[in-house]
Amino acid sequence: MVNWGYTITRVRRVDIDSNDMSYSRKLLAEFPELQSCIACGSCTATCTAGNLTKFNVRKLQTLVRRGEYEGVRKELEKCMLCGKCRLVCPRGINIRGLVQKLKKELPVK
């Protein structure tokens, strides 16, 4: 086949219609406190890993909630499990606990 040098750009919007929301739903059922997140960013601001790398724990958990799982599992390797995120969260969400859960449950890709 002739290679024209073009690729199809993947649409980069979050497409809730076609995303597989089943894991997102299961996660929120098992970890309901996550639903109370107000996206204040305190967790990311204080995160040990986030200040050294591009790691953004608020963004990652939001992506999972929207059914966007790709790359999340790998990114979570950066977490040092220090627990500072949990200390500052105004909603009392155990984010470190969430990271551990996600690392167990999300596919490695």
């Binding site: 953004n56 500052v88 009392g92």
Partner: protein, 338 residues
């Protein structure tokens, strides 16, 4: 014998309730624990959203109280409401009889030192919105060593919407207070850069959203969507803050001359004592729960206990004064029925 109503608390709500009762021909006595009337209003400089001098409102209310002949007892604290509103006990152990009680004991200011990560009372240049009102009254905003601050950061929701300090509610008036004070700093020092760290901007009252917009357009106040997670003091006594700029999705750090914590309204300390009285219930937030949010906002489940102002929830001054009027009318009707 003419009827007598005891008003607990001489803030704006209590003052107006007493005045209205007198207008309706019912004798009322205000019992206030501080040495003067006015409640929190005594501490404010200019009021949102119109920048009206606080004194203008306070003086008018004091005038009304004086003209109507309300009896005022200051430096006198109520410790208990007894017999379903037919009596109150004072801190000195004495008691007073009444035909009804209007509880207008207001709110408490959130003690910012509980949020240790922001360094209030630990670092020199961390203040609260209450401190700022004092500075405005006393000649202007200065750092601890008397300099004009070149950069100021405000932080919203300190002691509100925060599980960690057991304050889940939104204090409503603090967003607009922050906006008002940011503008006042710019009016005083046009070259100062002002940043506001917020999660949600809750502009619930008339003219509030307009003031917010003015803060953006006319005063170039920088609104950053993210909550400051911690503050630390630099060697030159400035404050370094960390937040996430959530709209970019990156951590942010900046150093400011002054950090202002926008403190919330906490349920009044007396509320727990009021709740020992039959018919007085509290919300989990410890604010007093009125009989019915739609149809009985100034009433309790007890026939002789009524509420006015911020004892039941965070409110602005206008709302609190209006509740004073509403409560007085409810009391008058109840006493007439009997």
């Amino acid at each position: 014998m003419s009827k007598k109503v005891i008003i607990i608390g001489g803030g704006v709500a209590g003052m107006q309730a007493a005045v209205t009762l007198e207008e309706l021909g019912i004798r009322s006595v205000i019992i206030e624990k501080e040495d003067g009337l006015g409640g929190k209003l005594r501490r404010w400089d200019r009021l949102f959203p119109t920048m009206t001098p606080a004194e203008e409102v306070l003086d008018e209310l004091k005038d009304r109280v004086q003209r109507s002949g309300v009896e005022v007892m200051t430096s006198c604290e109520v410790s208990e409401i007894g017999c379903e509103g037919r009596m109150v006990t004072l801190k000195d152990g004495s008691s007073l009889e009444s035909d009804a009680v209007v509880v207008a004991s207001g709110f408490d200011l959130f003690p910012a030192e509980l949020k240790e990560e922001y360094g209030y009372k630990i670092y020199d240049n961390v203040f609260t919105t209450v401190d700022l009102e004092r500075m405005f009254r006393n000649g202007g905003v200065r750092t601890v060593d008397g300099r004009i601050p070149k950069t100021v950061a405000f932080l919203h929701c300190v002691g509100s919407r925060d599980e960690k300090v057991n304050q889940r509610h939104c204090s409503r008036v603090c967003c607009i207070t922050g906006v008002k004070q940011a503008i006042e700093i710019k009016q005083e020092h046009p070259d100062t850069e002002v940043y506001s760290f917020y999660m949600d901007m809750r502009m619930f009252g008339p003219g509030y959203e307009e003031l917010y917009r003015q803060a953006q357009q006319e005063f170039n106040i920088h609104f950053v969507r993210g909550r400051i997670s911690e503050a630390s003091q630099t060697i030159d006594h400035r404050i370094q803050i960390k937040a996430e700029d959530t709209l970019i999705g990156l951590p942010l750090k900046m150093t400011v001359d002054m950090l202002v914590l926008i403190v919330g309204m906490k349920a009044g300390e007396s509320n727990l004592r009021w709740s020992r009285c039959q018919g007085v219930d509290l919300y989990p937030s410890s604010f007093v729960k009125p009989k019915n949010l739609f149809l009985g906002g100034v009433e309790s489940d007890s026939k002789h206990i009524f509420y006015a102002g911020t004892v039941t929830a965070p409110k602005n001054i206008g709302e609190s004064i209006d509740e004073g009027i509403a409560a007085a009318h409810r009391v008058a009707q109840r006493l007439k029925e009997e």
